[in-house]
Subunit: 296 residues, 2 copies
């Protein structure tokens, strides 16, 4: 039996369920609230938001949407077809403590004309307010394991892709310590649809344990007003990345997507100061925010 959109969508929903369960356990206090929504042109989604103890504001979105290919869409996405379908799981978690990193994960599937053309995309990246190179290394080692199970070249390729993607040119700095990013993975990759699907779901399924580990290593670390101020500045940069550079956010907003679901990625609050002068610890941390660092 071939791998249908229905099967993929069902699995994405399961992954959303599993992650929400794991994150409630991780947080210890917060519970997800769910909004089910329909899209007038076709499809809908399940937006789940948690405001808890460890996670100040987090969203775990599932969506499954479809429609007719417009001329604008065909041009913007460089594709030919009549009917499109997209489904995915998308997550951003902003922790309360400035010592705990922000994290993002996304997995997605896209098909044209009932599967005549199809591709997968996805990524995970970690944004510590204070970079601990050891924890960044641990994070990358686990991602490399998942990639190595798929292909021996995947980690190097997708790690570089993340370095290039999660980058703020106007600040000349990376969003965080990177991770992996990939897009338009299809049969041309030399892998079957089933193999790519297995890889993408493995990325989805490692997310909760990756974050649990980062949280366990950082949640007891002390912080004061200085660290909170720095967190607000780093959140400002996160907002800048998402609103200025992130293709998913942009595409969602200009294509009349569900704004509240798209912008769940923004933190509860953020701050901007003209010519902010970071202290020694913050300057040290900022030095790690660049492309091309081999963490492993």
């Amino acid at each position: 039996m071939s791998l249908t959109a229905e099967k993929i969508i069902q699995e994405f929903k399961l992954i959303q369920d599993e992650i929400c369960r794991d994150l409630e356990s991780l947080d210890g206090q917060g519970k997800f609230i769910e909004d089910l929504w329909d899209r007038s042109e076709g499809g809908g989604g399940r937006t789940r938001i948690l405001e808890g103890h460890i996670i100040e504001k987090g969203g775990v979105n599932f969506s499954h949407v479809y429609g007719n290919v417009s001329d604008e869409m065909a041009a913007a996405m460089n594709m030919v077809g009549e009917r499109w379908l997209a489904s995915g799981v998308s997550i951003v978690l902003h922790p309360s403590s400035p010592r705990v990193p922000i994290i993002h994960m996304n997995i997605r599937y896209f098909e044209l004309d009932g599967g005549r053309e199809w591709w997968f995309g996805g990524g995970i990246d970690l944004t510590p307010h204070y970079v601990d190179p050891g924890l960044a290394k641990d994070f990358h080692i686990k991602l490399k394991e998942v990639c190595d199970n798929f292909s021996s070249t995947a980690y190097a390729e997708y790690k570089k892709w993340a370095d290039d993607y999660f980058y703020l040119p106007h600040r000349k700095e990376s969003r965080g310590v990177g991770g992996i990013f990939f897009d338009r993975l299809n049969g041309d990759s030399g892998h079957s649809k089933e193999e790519i699907f297995d890889f993408v779901t493995a990325v989805g399924r490692i997310f909760a344990q990756l974050y649990q580990y980062q949280v366990d290593q950082t949640k007891e670390l002390a912080f004061g007003d200085g660290e909170k101020e720095w967190q607000m500045i780093r959140r400002g940069r996160y907002v800048e990345f998402n609103l200025v550079w992130d293709r998913g956010t942009k595409f969602g907003l200009i294509s009349d997507g569900r704004t509240e679901s798209i912008l769940m990625s923004l933190p509860k609050n953020a701050s901007w100061q003209y010519q902010y002068q970071p202290g020694p610890k913050e300057t040290e941390s900022q030095k790690w925010l660049q492309k091309g660092i081999e963490w492993i």
Copy 2:
């Protein structure tokens, strides 16, 4: 003697000086700090920032920059030429009190090949956290007077342009109560370069008194935590407009402009809450955030 770029630039600097003097007087406590900057490709600017009593965070920027027309620039701006020059004054003020409105003003001049082609642009718009239709009317009456001195059709035209420009499609709401906006005003408008320049400088010179009036009418109004919370939400929308939709911000960031000067428009802090439920006063205020309201 014809109106040269030098004369325009000199006048823009004078307007920046006058406005900074008037805003220090308005604030009563804060003093502008100035950063002079050079641009490696040509030109530079004077960025002035005030953190005061009434104005929590405000910037009054002057810049005068020039260079060779790149292919990207020619395509993006739909123009033909070899050398470009741009100069302008740009202001955003975020007040401490949620009862005092945010305000923005910009005037700008652009020329190609030493003045073979030229145009002016500009605008003023007001963003109250709480809309008072009477104060919005006062604001528009003054703008209409300035426009009427230039042309009998200018106010209607530039008011509509502002309605269309200062709009957040993804929120289906206006940034505030509008104002005026105009771009690419040149000889085709039926006005001489001198006449347009007189109009543009009149816009610049009415700014401080317009804001002084708004501040005088609102600065003594009481507020509490609820109003501060709403202010943070409205500031979040301001950030969304500037980073997602504002053409000047975008052009600056993608063309490697001076980030700290461009992003002086962002507030000291802002907030995002999923599915924020405004109270009765806030809902009432939000009803005014739409296009096509004739305030006068």
